[in-house]
Amino acid sequence: MAELAEKLEILADSAKYDVACTSSGVDRGGRHGSLGSCSAAGICHSFTPDGRCVSLLKVLLSNACCYDCCYCVNRRSNDVPRATFTPRELAELTIGFYRRNYIEGLFLSSAVLGSPDITMERMIEALRILREEYHFRGYIHAKTIPGADALLIHRLGMLADRLSVNIELPSEESLHRLAPDKQKSAVLRPMGQIAAEARQNQRELQLYRTAPKFAPAGQSTQMIIGASPETDRHILTLTEALYKKYSLKRVFYSAYLPVVQDSRLPALTTRPPLLREHRLYQADWLLRFYHFSAGELLSENEPNFDPYLDPKCDWAVRHPEFFPVEVNRAPLNELLRVPGIGPKSARRIVKARKLQTLGMPELKRLGVVLKRAQYFITCNGCLGAHGSRSEIAGALVDPKAFGVGMQQLSLDDFLPTALPDAAPQMHQLTGQGMPAQEAAQLLRQEAVTCITGRM
């Protein structure tokens, strides 16, 4: 047992940079004679001190890699402890954790153990034990190994709920430069195969409701942000294309965290670009739930997101002609463009206004956050609030960019410091010795002035 714990530690530690950890996309009730269920919205079971959700047992089957991707801790030439699970150990761990309500299921990926095919066969065996011997009905997300045989991908898909193929880097050049063993085609081919099989499966399911399901929660991918020079615009356009072409369910971004010294990579002292990652997620959200397109959010002249404004506010600042929006009449997709109104609030508004005319107090009761929205809406012709340009800019800037947290030095000694996901300028200023709160104030003022100027 102690040895198993050791393995678990090594293989969880190597898997932690994979960001995707969601159990969403399938609804499956429990059934006698089996164990587990799935809920479409996904369930988080814990949150680590870095604020990320733990939903699945996220581990590698093995970290003994025979490839040498230079950005990766597990690359062949790196000196780290190595471990490999047997398929049965992995299945037992999953069941033990699942019964205790620690996890929703398994997220299995692996380093390349000998060859892509051998690795995939072992992964398939672990999933087979779970599904066939333990009759496990919880969630399984499996990452395909680039270069594996199409038949193995098919078998994996029959056992897993979600498959992912990591694109790793946002362009072929970068991939070529940083991961010499991998090719873009080796990434895109399985992605295409999975998309095609999923469509085929859809047709079968229409004919026979009981046809076995192929990866019912779809596929996702992940790319590393900040290890290579691509712009936000490039990344977002790629994201949009992936959603369209391969019907991906999610694209995940992972801020590059230097783990190795290499002349091809940012220096070891580089901070992970967490705010940039956050902006990309916000934009990704706008693509998926707000009917925005990549072309609307970024242009050739402004290929990167503003660190101080979330992409939706940024769009609003650039499109004054669109506002104000009348809450009692505007269609849903227009409501969705108002800063501060999300899909939930928008739907509530549409529902509630059928029964009564909405004014500001009613909106407040509906739970609509008005801090930003008030400047962009009218209630029956009345502007929600009048504000000077600088007041509006002040409401729009994203406080996250100036985040200050408390670092505990000793029991009763606290030092305000810039949060890890604050704007890079914050880290620069505090790095030069400016107290965090002062830096936050200064930068905020600058940002407000700049945004006011743009309006």
Partner: protein, 261 residues
């Protein structure tokens, strides 16, 4: 039927049950009055105002319930969920909601612009949210021959956990002990029972400690130091849940049987 009523300087006292509450509603309509407060057992006498004991009469409760049923599923559902709230004023809030709902009719549930409707909706959401968080953060332990968990919720969420865990663990027996409200939900075979419970035995054994150690190790290995952001952690997983989560720093192993002392 008309719904005018006078506010009376009077406190209803009832037995705390749902049927009892419905009888308070009945009383309020029957006397065309709205009390100042409704008190459940254990709730201290709030004021100098006289109290009226509301006796739970099954037939009255049924009549009110049938009446509410005519207002549509959403109203009835909101009432049933919001009633699980642990807030002291919930009874009055819900009485106001029902009175308002009878005025408005079947649209009442959706009329969130209205203050009384909105308040009931808030209660409903708070209870639902907590139940959802419990589904996420509850931790089972192997205790004796079944799985057991201890939780400290603000609201009486046990009934909202039943369906989820019965579906998730179709062939397991389990017990969830709500230590705040001294109630337990026991599932054995296909039967679910709610029982009063002050103390939970047996304790988990050594093998169980092993599993917990393993889970803690996994949890620690997963943390990326360079991204450490405890504020974010606490927004998603509020500290009050930590006492029952074995991977968290505030986990109170000794505290699980606090009720003993």
């Amino acid at each position: 039927m008309h719904y005018r009523a006078d506010v009376k300087d009077l406190v209803y006292r009832y037995d705390g049950s749902f049927a009892g509450f419905l009888c308070c509603v009945f009383e309020s309509f029957a006397h065309k009055e709205v009390p100042l407060a409704i008190a459940a057992p254990g709730q201290a006498q709030l004021s100098l105002y006289p109290e009226r004991e509301i006796v739970t009469v099954e037939t009255n409760a049924r009549r009110v319930f049938a009446g509410i049923g005519r207002l549509g599923g959403a109203v009835r559902y909101r009432l049933a969920i919001a009633f699980l709230s642990g807030e002291e004023e919930k009874d009055m809030d819900l009485l106001r909601f029902i009175r308002r709902a009878f005025e408005i009719g079947p649209n009442a549930a959706a009329m969130l612009g209205d203050a009384a409707v909105c308040r009931a909706w808030e209660l409903e959401r708070t209870v639902q949210n907590e139940a959802h968080l419990m589904i996420e953060f509850l931790r089972f332990e192997q205790r004796g021959n079944m799985l057991g968990a201890v939780i400290h919720p603000k609201n009486r969420v046990l009934p909202l956990l039943r369906a989820h865990f019965c579906s998730r663990l179709p062939d397991e027996s389990f017990l969830i002990c709500d230590a705040t409200h001294h109630t337990a939900m026991l599932r054995r075979g296909d039967v679910v029972q709610y029982l009063p419970m002050d103390q939970y035995d047996p304790e988990p054994d050594a093998a169980e400690e092993q599993w917990q150690r393993m889970w803690r190790r996994f949890f620690q290995a997963l943390t990326i130091e360079e991204r450490r952001n405890e504020t974010c952690q606490r927004t998603h997983c509020p500290k009050r849940f930590w006492q029952d989560m074995c991977e968290m720093p505030l986990y109170q192993k000794a505290g699980r049987n606090r009720e003993k002392q």
